[in-house]
Each structure stands twice: as structure tokens, then as C-alpha cells.
């Protein structure tokens, strides 16, 4: 009889201790999520010198340890952002549910990958099973700045449907890198041949026009589209369009008619920059 009473007390103690643990975590999570300190406050805290020996005697981490830890973490973060090209500009997280085996958090994340900005909202479900913790994404919603383009919006819809957060970032990275490469290439040619190259839609547009300032009727339009399919594969598509005065059209010059095909061969043989460079040289010829 005594033993069963003891056992009942012990069980009660264990359940109370668990409750206390969960409540403490909940309290701390709430504190963390509802507080906000500005950058100045953080900077001031980094510079402050408190009586460290008192802290250490209390068993807390000393201020200098905390400063060192923060610096190391911030260095890691800025390295990652620089390396991957993914910059997070804001992140907020709210713990919606937390029990012994299960935690649900709602995340809101904004950032950009090179020049493409995005805003995400999703739920993260963490479940403790016998061996490990499983993490599942639910309710993913993505907004992209360049979302008007149909292929991007199809890609985003497919990602949202399957909650494919990881694939989103991987595909976004390669897509953004191509866009960045295109932007840099356009910038390079604009800077090198300012008279020949014009960018009607600016550096973020998808075509450039090459023309000889003396023969304004004749233009070469290089289109460089970057396509992303529903599975996130990025493909660059380049093509050449010629604009010639009507009289020239009547001559049926094979060189002009074959120009697009010729350009495509050049792309394969020499790559994008060299092919465009060649076109510019052709256009610049005094003919």
C-alpha cells in the first residue's frame, strides 16, 4: 500500500517537473519573441562593462563570454550570407504549440538572393519520434518581387503546393545567379561600348540592343531570357533578332537571314560573352 502511494507521488512529481519545464520554455519563448532591441541598444550592450565577477559568482556567463559568443555567431552568419548570396533582411518566429513531443512554429522571413527579393511565411512542425526529430514544412506561402513573370509564378505555385522550401532556395540560388550573371554581362558591355549598346529596360531587363550610331536603321537585338521550370531547373535562352530598314529586307541578304542561327552557333562555340562581343564588332564596322 505504501509503495503505491509513493509511486503515485513520484509520478506526480515527474509530471509536475515536465510541466514546469514546458512552461519555462514557453515563458522564455514568449519573452524572446515579443521583445525587440534595436541595433543601438545591442551596440551599447556590447560596449558596456559590468561587474563581471559578480556575474561569474552567480554562475551566469560573463559579459565578455556573451560578447565573444555573439561575435562568433554574427561572423558565421555574415559569412553564410556572403557565400550563398542569400541575405535575410527580417525574420520573426512565433511558437504556436509546444508539448513534450511536438512543437509548431510560425515563421515569417524576408530577404533577397542577389537581386531577387522574396517574402516567405510557413509553419515548421518538429516532432520527436523514437530515434530523431523530424522537421516538416506546412502552409508555405511565397511572394516574389518578380512574380509577375509566368514561369516564376508557376515555379512558386509548385513549390507552395508541396511545401518544398529547400528546393525553393536551391533553385532560387541558381536562378538568381544567372540573373546576376546577365546583369553583370550587360553592365560590362554597356560600359565598354557605350555608343553601341543600349538597355531599353535597364540592367534588369532581358534584352540589349546593339546599333551603329551612324547607321541607325540597322539594329541587333539580343534577347537573353532566363527560364525556370516547375521543378526549379534554370535554363538561359538566348536569341538574336535583327531589325533592318525595309529596303535592306528586299535585298534578301542571306547574312541577315542567317544571323540568328549564326548567333546560336557562336554561343555554343564561344560562350555568351564572346558571341555578344563578336556581334558588337560586326555592328561597329563601318559598312
Amino acid at each position: 500500500m505504501d509503495n503505491s502511494i509513493c509511486q503515485a507521488y513520484e509520478d506526480k512529481i515527474q509530471s509536475l517537473e515536465e510541466e514546469i519545464k514546458l512552461l519555462t520554455e514557453k515563458y522564455e519563448d514568449n519573452q524572446q519573441e515579443s521583445t525587440f532591441f534595436s541595433d543601438e541598444e545591442i551596440l551599447m550592450s556590447k560596449k558596456s562593462f559590468q561587474r563581471e565577477f559578480w556575474r561569474e559568482s552567480q554562475g551566469c556567463e560573463s559579459l565578455s563570454d556573451l560578447k565573444a559568443q555573439l561575435e562568433s555567431l554574427e561572423t558565421d552568419l555574415s559569412f553564410l550570407m556572403k557565400f550563398t548570396g542569400i541575405q535575410f533582411t527580417s525574420h520573426s518566429k512565433k511558437t504556436v504549440e509546444k508539448t513534450r513531443n511536438r512543437a509548431v512554429q510560425k515563421h515569417r522571413l524576408s530577404g533577397n538572393c542577389h537581386s531577387l527579393s522574396f517574402h516567405l511565411e510557413f509553419q515548421l512542425l518538429e516532432m520527436q519520434n523514437k530515434e530523431n526529430v523530424s522537421v516538416v514544412v506546412n502552409d508555405l506561402s511565397i511572394t516574389m518581387e518578380s512574380g509577375e513573370e509566368s514561369d516564376v509564378s508557376k515555379f512558386v505555385s509548385s513549390i507552395e503546393e508541396h511545401g518544398n522550401l529547400l528546393a525553393f532556395f536551391r533553385s532560387l540560388s541558381s536562378y538568381a545567379e544567372w540573373c546576376e550573371h546577365r546583369r553583370c554581362t550587360f553592365l560590362h558591355f554597356k560600359a565598354k561600348y557605350p555608343d553601341v549598346v543600349t538597355l531599353p529596360e535597364g540592367l534588369l531587363g532581358d534584352y540589349i540592343i546593339l546599333r551603329n550610331s551612324k547607321h541607325s536603321g540597322f539594329e541587333l537585338l539580343v534577347v537573353w531570357k532566363i527560364h525556370i521550370d516547375e521543378e526549379g531547373r534554370t535554363t538561359p535562352l538566348l536569341d538574336l533578332l535583327t531589325k533592318v530598314p525595309e529596303q535592306v529586307l528586299e535585298w534578301k541578304n542571306p547574312a541577315i537571314e542567317n544571323a540568328p542561327a549564326g548567333f546560336r552557333s557562336m554561343l555554343l562555340l564561344f560562350g555568351i560573352e564572346a558571341a555578344i562581343e563578336n556581334l558588337i564588332k560586326v555592328v561597329s564596322l563601318e559598312k
Partner: protein
Amino acid sequence: QEEEEGPLRKKSSCFPHIATSQGMEPGQGELTPAFSLAGEWQGKMEEGKAYSPHGVFAHLEMLEARAHEADLKEEEATQQEEKLARLKARVQELTLQRDELQAKVDLQQKRQLEKEGVASDPAQPSAQAVLEWKIKRVKAMLQVFSLTGISGKLTKQGVCFCISTAYEGTYLDSYYLDLLTKPEVRILRHSIPIFIPLEQLAKKYLQTDIRRFLSVLSNHLNAYAARKYQADQLQEHFSDQIEGTLQTNSLCNLLVFNYNVPNKSKTFPFNVRLLYGDLCSSIPTKAPASLAEMAAAHSDLFCHVALHKAFRSFRNAGESVAGAP
């Protein structure tokens, strides 16, 4: 109650007639009903003509043993009592603590609902609190990076990258790659499985373009994780349609199994050999399956759709056929 009092009484009336009694003869004195010592003593005395040493000592031993037992039982009982009292006190203490915490949390939530501003305490927060808050935030941000597929931390000699894998919304295993950066980029250690062509990829990309190296490696790892996940899902959710076990190699790019598809109350057995020719894909390139008209359709399906989803569509097709009016 008898039990409690009994040992006490036994203790105090132990050997009353041998050491402590004065002028008392055996057989006299106070006796409790449960205590027949004096009676025995008396009996023995009369029997063995009193002064047989073995009889006496044997009795003494027996008395001693009984007293000792009584002692122990009493000690046990008091210990038990003390333990119960301790446990009870602890329960009270923890309950109090829990209730206090609950009140704190409720107050927090109430404040949040009333939106009394974002500021925490009216008092100036300590530098320590601010730094601890910031640390938690940065850690949360780093955790988000692990959701993107590539995360890492700087080490003394270089960088330690962590590549995460996932299939749709479910995150799977993570793999580590510890790189040295000086004098040239080298892999110090890693947790990449041996059947992933790490050396080949490293040779091709590591020196020239680390980002590309990680990206290609991530493709391989994610495809492998996806294939493995699909095979596991198949075994977990469609075990009734699989005959025997799924045979696969460690890279999970070759899958052989027997399955049957129910169709109009008959089941058709199939054997299929899925070959994933593209190591960066989680969809097979070849899927020759034996038997029947359905084989070609299934083959085609396997090469276009994820494995467990193909099976789901069989099941749905089978049900719709069976339920057709």
C-alpha cells in the same frame, strides 16, 4: 495500529526479566498479549531444569533476532513515513512553482493580446539580457539557413559546411563537410556516404568553384535522400501490395521488387526493376516490368512520377475500377 505499537512495546519490554528487573521472578511483570516471551521463558525454565546453557543462549539469540527484526521494521516504517512526507512536500513545492509559472505565462499572453507595446520591462534591460536576446536571434537565423540547404560555421582552419536534404516538405538527413582553406582548399573530414562520388566532384570543382562543388554535391545527396525516402514510403504505406522485400543497393539507384495491383477482384503480380540512371534525379530512367498490358503503362508512370505517388495512383485506379457501377 497494532503493528505500530507492537514493535514499540516489544522494544521496551525486551528482556525485562533478565537485566532490568529487580526482585522479579520470571513469569511475573507486564505482558502484552502478543508477547509471550515470559511464558516461553518460564516453560523452558521448567523443562530444561533452568540452567542448561544451550537452551538459554538459543533463546537469547532468538529474542535478539526478533528484537532486531522489530527494530528494522520500525526503522523501515519511519523511513517510509519520512519518505512520504518528503514526497508530499516536494509535490507541494512543485505545484506552487508550476502555478506561479502558469500565472506568469498567462500574464504574458494577456499582455500580448492587449498589445501593450513591444517594450519588455519598464526597467532598463541589462546588457546581459540584451546580448542573450540577440544571441538567440542570431541562432534562430542560422537555423533558418539550415532550412535553405547550405549552412555552416567558420572554424580555425577553414569552414565546416552542413548540407541538408529534404523531400518536398520533409527534411531528411544532414551531411557535414569540414574544409581547410589554407594553403589550398581540402576536405579535412566529412560524413558523406561512401557511394556518393565525393572525390570525383572534389577533383573537378573544389579548387576552382566551391559554390558549384557544394551545389553539385547537394544535388547528388538530395537525389539519393529522395530515392531512399520514396523506397521507405513505399514499404511503409504500401506493404500490402508488395510481395516480399524491396531489394535495393546502398545508393538506392537500383530497386527491384514484386508488387501486385488489384483489378476487378483479381490481382496481377508484377516484378519491376527500377534503374535510376541519373544520380541527380529521384525519378528512374528505366523501369522494365514483366507481364501484361499494364506493364508498359506502369513503366511509363514510374519514369515520370515519384515512386510512392505512382503507387498511390494504382490504388486509386484499382478502387475506382472496383467501385464502378
